[in-house]
Amino acid sequence: MIRLTGIERTFTVGGEQVHALRAVTLEIAQGESLSIMGPSGSGKSTLLNIIGLLDRPNAGTYELDRRDVTGLTDDELARVRREKIGFVFQFFHLVPRLTAAQNIELPMVLSGIDPAERARRVEQLLAEYGLTERSGHRPDQLSGGQCQRVAIARAMSMRPGVILADEPTGNLDRHTGQEVMGVLERLHQNGGTVVVVTHDPEIGARSHRRLRMIDGAVTSDEKG
């Protein structure tokens, strides 16, 4: 469960204060599927980064699974991120010199999981996302859809409670985008919390709960 209360985030750009987030208060229940939409610069990515513990708010509190994570140190945040949050990015962000299997394995390597256990999980994930035949291929030998599937498998390798996707279809053609959204929806059906940032209304409309943001504030919150 995610609970944000009065989150403020300001940036200083060229000597001017820019309010990226203004008093955002938001509660996301475990297992919810949420989309955040809004024009460029509306603060949706900043909100996602704060939920993902990559960024810190200037004011307000953030509770993740009933634990206040606002005041944690960088290393503590890294550990929480590793255990509870999986990221999917618009540009996939796969490590180019590593194979698909090695990319999926990376979070488990960072947290020091036993190699035998890692191999078992990687194999399982490759099968789940239809990548078994591509396991030895490097990112430049994979299609965009395959890359994003590798990225999703990587995000799932630590079995996090929350998946955060920032424009996951932004770099894919329509058909492949639909396919990737299908994968994310399956994660939701299996009980995961999925938060998707997008500016594509069609993609946004697929979520159960839909947030709209303008100028750093949440302007609408629809369900159903």
């Binding site: 290393d75 890294a78 991120r81 590793r82 962000h93 180019p96 590593l98 390597v109 960072l110 020091g112």
Partner: protein, 402 residues
């Protein structure tokens, strides 16, 4: 993160950026190879000199008349003013010391040596049978001077190979007679070719009994006395004994100079070792240059791999893990460079050894340890700044769109 995984990750990076890896290996390799080769040269020179001194005879104490402190650069070649001569009796008195194994009085002069119509000016040494062992001389044929009372002598001599060749050519020299000045000597031995050994070329000398040399050069006084101590530990005792015995015989006056081979050798040893360290240190500067190159390359890597670092952070890597990844990478590169450098250095040594076989070129053990260790330490040290920069990177900015 497990250590094996850390190594594996760094290994992937090293393999992934080939030209960068080769560049660093080259820089590190050159630095280490320079240290290994240069110190080998220094060490080779040192060993060469030590060996040359060793060939003079071991545990040697040299006694010469006169005090040397007034003039001269090196006491061994000094012929100073002599207030009181060293005599055969002075030499024989040394038998009283328990620290002395043997001694050989020595007279040196230039003699006009003739055989038939051939003549040659050569150094003539007057000494006793002990000279051979003290100086470590070797015979090609015949025997050395006979033992016996040094005050009496037989008309015999031992000649160097070159003297034999020059005077006799292909004829048999052993057993034949030569003339030195107005005296005749029968050749009873020919020295083996040993070449130069600091001061004398044994190929070009003629050795006659002491008493014969005294008569030949019309002198009572000795050029010097070569004394061999019983062991290395007793060199100082032997020196003290010599000084005391001669002082008593010279009415309490200390009018001789005693130099020990050990002291001269130790001085040379120190000088050459210091020299080796100095040039080794200069070569080590190239290691520092290689270190700076590593720093540069690592800084570039941090910028190039910004997105990757941001990704690792998003995936839950701590700042420490990212630093460790960079350190491991630098250590791997430095280690590879050091290995390549040691190999190249040893290869260079073997080539130089082929060209100058007389000098024992060999990298000293401390250089083989110090050069790679320095390489790895500089590699890691110069990675501190880049690694910190990577660890401090803001993941949001690092992952931001291009």
């Amino acid at each position: 993160m497990r250590f094996a995984d850390l190594l594996g990750f760094a290994w992937q990076v090293v393999l992934g950026y080939r030209s960068r890896t080769l560049l660093i290996l080259l820089a590190m390799g050159i630095g280490v190879a320079a240290v290994v080769t240069v110190t080998s040269l220094g060490e080779g020179a040192r060993l060469y000199v030590v060996k040359q001194f060793g060939s003079l005879g071991t545990n040697l104490v040299i006694v010469l008349p006169g005090r040397s402190e007034t003039s001269g650069s090196m006491p061994g070649v000094l012929i100073g003013k002599t207030p009181r001569d060293l005599t055969i009796d002075d030499a024989l008195a040394l038998k009283r010391s328990h620290a002395i194994r043997r001694f050989a009085p020595l007279i040196v002069g230039a003699g006009d040596v003739r055989s038939g119509a051939r003549r040659r000016e050569t150094p003539v040494l007057g000494s006793t049978a002990e000279l051979m062992d003290i100086r470590g001389m070797e015979l090609a044929s015949g025997r050395f001077l006979p033992a016996g009372d040094p005050r009496h002598s037989q008309p015999v001599c031992v000649i160097g190979t070159k003297v034999a060749n020059e005077l006799f050519g292909t004829r048999q020299a052993l057993g034949d007679w030569i003339r030195i000045g107005d005296r005749r000597f029968r050749i009873i031995g020919i020295l083996a070719a040993q070449g130069e050994s600091l001061g004398f070329n044994t190929d070009e000398i003629v050795v006659v009994p002491l008493a014969a040399a005294q008569a030949l050069f019309n002198t009572e006084s000795l050029f010097r006395i070569l004394v061999e101590a019983k062991s290395r530990d007793q060199i100082l005792d032997a020196k003290a004994d010599v000084e005391e015995i001669i002082r008593l015989r010279h009415e309490g006056e200390k009018d001789i100079t005693v130099i020990t081979q050990d002291a001269v050798l130790a001085t040379f040893d120190r000088i050459l070792r210091a020299l080796t360290l100095t040039v080794g240190g200069i070569a080590a500067i190239s290691l520092a240059v290689a270190g700076i190159l590593i720093m540069n390359v690592m800084l570039i890597a941090v910028t190039q791999r910004k997105r990757e670092i941001g990704l690792l952070k998003a995936l839950g890597a701590t700042g420490r893990q990212i630093q460790m990844a960079f350190f491991t990478e630098a250590a791997l590169l430095a280690l590879g460079g050091a290995a390549a450098g040691v190999a190249a250095g040893e290869f260079g040594n073997s080539i130089i050894s082929q060209v100058y076989p007389a000098i024992p070129f060999e990298a000293p053990w401390w250089a083989l340890v110090a050069a790679p260790v320095t390489a790895i330490l500089t590699g890691i040290l110069f990675t501190v700044a880049p690694a910190r920069r990577a660890a401090m990177l803001d993941p949001v900015q690092a992952l931001a769109r291009r």
